[in-house]
Symmetry: C2
Subunit: 152 residues, 2 copies
DNA sequence: TGCAATTAGGACCTTGATGGTCCGGATTGC
DNA sequence: GCAATCCGGACCATCAAGGTCCTAATTGCA
């Protein structure tokens, strides 16, 4: 499906909600869980990963919480995806690790996926979380009366 | 990881090998399995899916086999990915199917993934299988002495 | 007409990653 | 000292992907 994980989706949602915090203020995981409608442990997990990637900052103790380290506009989408899902690599034999592919000599596309990854990487670098969150422009889903999408 | 399935990888390999067939000639699944180093049932599965998508054509009976319906250069990568992995949709709530997301009203990125999908789709449309298979240009993997890539 | 080769279309099982929860420890403010 | 909160990890369940196999349907040839 070429889909990214739900955690990444959650991460984007949490990040946008985290933007609601007052200047310098922090939001706790339970509060964010309430705002997003996600389960609290899940939100915690997402925040921990994001904190590890340096996208958010956690402050412990009473009055603790999380806050963004940068404005949403300064966070490219690819950074969130990389943090949550790991590096973009469409196939196993695409990174420079050899020896994993038993039919290496017979493989005609060896090392050929790199440009594809690059193309996707470029496409994802130009989009920031702010682009995803807003502006509160026209919602491209004007009340579809029935599901157009054919389930896979 | 934002990776596509192995089957898709196999599909690309099989397609490029299928290109080796003489003009109008066909290759059987066992032969292709031998050429690619993949297991025969797996190759069969891939070919069946590709045939269903109209990318290859199967001919039954003795002297049967598979052949390409188009030259590799006329097959965009995205078509293979769509055939093997299904439509490109990064998140569950991205297609026009509603009602699956319980926190729909609270979700600030609702419908916002579409441009992302579009960006990726565009990036993948410009690449053909022929681009992946060849030309037999410089291999971008000149014998790396050690793995540079940090395993996830 | 019968037989062999081959694709077509599934069913089936196994395995691994993902999603999600929980617990103990460390830190901070009151 | 106590309560609130993050931090780090372990843990388990679920589900889709990967892979194999079996039974038709079709085709060419003897």
């Amino acid at each position: 499906m070429l889909r990214l994980s739900k955690l990444t989706d959650y991460a984007v949602v949490v990040l946008t909600r985290l933007d609601d915090a007052a200047e310098g203020g922090v939001l706790t995981a339970p509060v964010l869980a309430g705002n997003t409608g996600l389960a609290e442990p899940t939100v915690s997990k997402v925040l921990k990963i994001l904190a590890h990637a340096g996208l958010v900052e956690g402050r412990r103790g009473a009055l603790g919480g999380y806050r963004l380290t940068r404005p949403l506009a300064a966070i490219p989408l690819i950074e969130v995806i990389t943090a949550m899902d790991g590096p973009i690599a469409l196939t196993a034999c695409v990174d420079n690790s050899f020896g994993v592919c038993e039919s290496e000599s017979a493989c005609p596309v060896r090392g050929r996926w790199d440009p594809v990854n690059e193309a996707i990487r470029r496409a994802l670098t130009g989009i920031s979380i702010a682009d995803l969150a807003g502006p509160p422009a026209v919602v491209p889903h004007p009340e579809p009366a029935f599901p157009i999408f054919a389930a896979e």
